[in-house]
Structure formats: C-alpha cells, structure tokens
Amino acid sequence: MLRSAFLSLLFCGSLASTAQTVSSEAFKLPKGPLNQLSGQAFLSPSLKAMQSDASTNPISLWLEQGRSLWTGTAGQVSCAQCHGAVETMRGAATQFPKWSVKQQKLINLEDQILTCSERTPRPLKSLENAELLSLSALLHLSSAGLPFQISPQEEIQQRWQLELNAGAKIFTTRMGRMNLACTHCHDLNIGKTMRADVISPGHPTGFPIFKLSWQSMGSIDRRLRACYSGVQAEVPAPGSPELRQLELFLKSRAQGIPIEGPSLRR
C-alpha cells in the first residue's frame, strides 16, 4: 500500500516534469501553401517535442538495434561486411522504389533488405519484422536531408513509366465503401481535420514511422494498407505490386522535399 502510494507520487512527479517540457499550445497550421509540407508540420507540439528528444522518442530503440545489426558482433554476418560503415550508405534510401531487372518488379528499400538478408544464415521473414524495420530506419536516417532521387536507367525507362502511371492511376481512382481516392484528401482537403487528425499532403518523407496507435514501427507498405482500410476498400496483401506503384508515384510527387528519417506519427 505504502509502496503504491510512493509509486503514484513518483509517476505524478514524472508526469508533471514532462508537462513542463511539453508545450501546451494548441496545434496551429503553418502559414503559406500546405501542399509542399512534410508530415512533420502536422504534428502536435507535444509530439514534436517527443520526436526531437532522443530520450523520449521510442524510435531510438529501433535505431540502436539497427546500428548493432549493421556492425554486427564478432563472428556474426553483418551488413557492414559488404556495405562498409552506414555513413557510406547516405543517399541509398532516396533511390527506392526501383525496378529490379532480376525480379522483374518494383522493389522498395524494405524488399531490398529482405533480399539481402536471404543471403545470410539468418534470413528475415516478413516485411514488418522488427529487425528489418530497424535497418530501414537506420538507412533512412542516414539519408536524412536529401530529397528522393528516383529515376530509371535508360534501358528500363518504358517499363518504369508504366509503373509510375499505374501508381498515379491508383492515387486518383475512387475506391472502397467511402468511394474516395487518395487525391480527395491529400490534394483537395489538406489542412482540414478528419476525425481528430489534420490531413497532410501525404508526402512519404518520414518513413518508417513509429505510429502511436500501432505501438510499433511500421513501413510505408503497412501505412498504405491502413489507408485502404480507412476508405473501406479491399486491402492489398503486404508487398503487392500496387503498393509499390503507389509508393513510386508518391515519391515522385514529393520530389525536392527532403527525407526526414524515421518519424513519430499519431
């Protein structure tokens, strides 16, 4: 009894001190045009504070795991054995999704990590695996500040354009019981509120994300599937070509906007 009273005091103390660091001002939309803003601009002040403080940001855990996987422990296969220090991978995350001639499909960074891991004695099994996401988070962080650089090599130009067009078509096609296309929210209604959230332009610069409602990290693949579910459309299977096409279109739509690295979302 005494202990629990003591504990509740402790937690009250910690809550109060957090409240001091977290600004209580309400969310305000930034001035100026909204369609070139990243998702970060739509976070509440308290989430922004959480994002910028490594000691409260849960993504720190994943990044630490990513770093230890990258360098590996002695005698263990690691990413660094082939790729060198993670700093040399700056810009790698900006180039996905790209057309894989070998697999004859669009692959994103998570697909690439999965394929890489299959060459090791300890292959990763799914796209939402914690280890995979921690590596993806690390690679995206090392490309922070750079804009997406997606363009096809000449020999696959035509095929790539078809994929991009397919992505654009998905973005503008009504779907689901809500009968909405991506464009209806993320082009036409940016800055308005939907349920308790503010609609952003949907630029994919903050992936992988730690979504508080998931209590975990998730890839762009998972986030897009959540959008399908949101408009009550049939949700594509993880890794479906249409998700990659949509990702390609979203990233070409976000040209020039810098990657922010793994981010917090509600």
């Binding site: 504990l7 910690s14 957090t18 490594a54 209590q215």
Partner: protein, 109 residues
C-alpha cells in the same frame, strides 16, 4: 523465447550532488496483454514486463509492478537523487516468460 529485448536508459538533467535528475527507461517489449489474437485467431499468451526495479549503487530506489495497460514500448520516467559520490543507475526488469534484463548508466558528476 524470441530475440533479446532492447532497452534504453537515459539520464536527463544536470548531474550535481544533492540535485535531482530524471531517469527515462524504455524497453521494446511486445507487452502482450493476453487478450490479443494472432493472424490465425489463436490467443497470444500474456507476456508483459511485470516488475521493474531501479538501483543507485545497488540501493533500491524504485520498484514498479506493471499491469497489462502499459504501452509497448514500455516507458518509465522517475527522479533520481544524486549522491555526492555519483555512481551507477541500474534498471532490472523481468517478464512473464521468465526473460530478464538489465540496463545501466554511470552518473558523472
């Protein structure tokens, strides 16, 4: 038992003898409440971190009995009164599957 659980301990604030700092501890534990089901509909057994203890130089300064309502990743923040000799803050946890772990940070005055 799955892969090791990652934990992180950060000490924030100015470290000086007699002053308080805040220790922030988090753990990427799944915190399965026992009510969730997996993709095939089978119930995932309850597995949460049920006990967390924090020590300053092997002296118990905080003990928490956690329940199923804790978030994943677990996050606890608690004050630590810095003693003149400084020392080591150590956090030990234990979960329902019997897994345990320990994280420590040195207090540098």
């Amino acid at each position: 038992m799955s892969s090791p659980i990652l934990t992180r301990l950060a000490l924030t604030g100015q470290v000086k003898a007699g002053g308080n700092i805040e220790a922030r501890w988090s753990a990427a534990h799944p915190m399965d409440s026992g009510f969730r089901v997996d993709d095939s509909g089978r119930r995932i057994p309850k597995n949460i971190i049920h006990t967390v203890r924090a020590y300053l130089n092997d002296r118990l300064i905080m003990e928490a009995d956690l329940g199923t309502a804790m978030t994943s990743p677990v996050y606890l923040a608690f004050p630590v009164l810095v003693s003149a000799e400084g020392g080591i803050v150590k956090v030990i946890w234990q979960d329902d599957s019997g897994q345990m772990g320990e994280t420590q940070q040195r207090l540098v005055i």
